[in-house]
């Protein structure tokens, strides 16, 4: 059996670029989204990240602003 392989439109952002982005943009103008589990978030996270574990994401989309840029990790 084969895995269908297609191109995804999601852009990757290098961590250095992300650091610069976050220091150049005010808090609240973008969303830094942590989709790991709560325990992982508690152990270590990027400051300012919003936690929505992946299993909950589709039920909690209303907590995010679709107009703001989102950086996921």
């Amino acid at each position: 059996m084969k895995w269908k392989q297609l191109v995804t439109p999601v852009n990757s952002m290098e961590s250095e670029v992300a650091k610069t982005y976050m220091s150049d943009h005010a808090e609240g103008t973008y969303t830094l989204l942590d989709v790991r589990q709560e325990g992982e978030y508690e152990q270590s996270r990027i400051p300012g990240a919003t936690l929505i574990p992946l299993p909950e994401l589709m039920d909690r989309l209303d907590e995010l602003d679709p107009e703001k840029p989102v950086i996921t990790y």
Binding site: K2, V7, V10, M13, E40, P66, P69, T72
Partner: protein
């Protein structure tokens, strides 16, 4: 652990979010460690102009791949509760395959039997992708512990959820809509159990 966030980014892009970026290498890269994230692997992204037959075939191929994936990693995991969960997940993917096959025969009004369906129709649609062995091999580095395996499993489940939820919205026939919606709900439940298992292993 870039797989999950990439899946999340993909989900958001289908929900009207404008600018989405996936942080390359995730938190590991952020901390400046040299560890590599999982190999980038194929996403089951749909172009949106697939015919209904094609969607069902694609979904079937994906379920088959996921079934093999769970069965394979089950053999490589020692933890009894993880083994049990993986067996359950594989079992459910197997049921999804049955549902999709009967959906295919009723939609396409074709008399094809399961062997013909798998050998000719599904393998043709999926042939541009990589084999499950290659997939596992490429991601072997990222699957050396249970959290790594779970990360990849969750990535696959969100792909599956995304596929079914989008196409259940699109389906016009009520029975088809219900079946796809029900499968979407089951993939979502999978994601939750994988999340709980992740909590137990970090």
């Amino acid at each position: 652990m870039g797989g999950r966030s990439r899946g999340a980014a993909q989900l958001l892009s289908g929900k009207g979010f404008k600018d989405i970026f996936n942080l390359k290498g995730g938190l590991k890269a952020w901390q400046g460690l040299t560890a590599e994230g999982p190999a980038e692997f194929g996403m089951f992204l749909l172009t949106g102009d697939e015919t209904f037959d094609e969607i069902v075939i694609l979904a079937y191929g994906m379920e088959e791949g996921m079934w093999i994936f769970y069965e394979t990693i089950k053999e490589n995991v020692e933890d009894a509760s993880a083994k049990e969960l993986l067996a359950q997940l594989a079992g459910i993917e197997d049921k999804h395959k049955e549902k999709l096959f009967s959906l295919y025969t009723s939609i396409s009004k074709s008399e094809v039997n399961l062997d013909q369906f798998e050998a000719k129709i599904v393998s043709k649609v999926m042939e541009s992708g990589m084999s499950t062995d290659e997939f596992i091999e490429q991601n072997r580095l990222a699957m050396q512990d249970i959290p790594g395996i779970l990360n990849i499993a969750m990535t696959l489940e969100i792909q599956a959820f995304d596929l079914y939820s989008r196409y259940s919205q699109k389906a016009t026939d009520k029975t088809t809509k219900d079946i796809l919606y029900q499968i979407a709900q089951e993939e979502k439940a999978h994601l939750k159990s994988l999340g709980q298992l992740m909590d137990d292993h970090i």
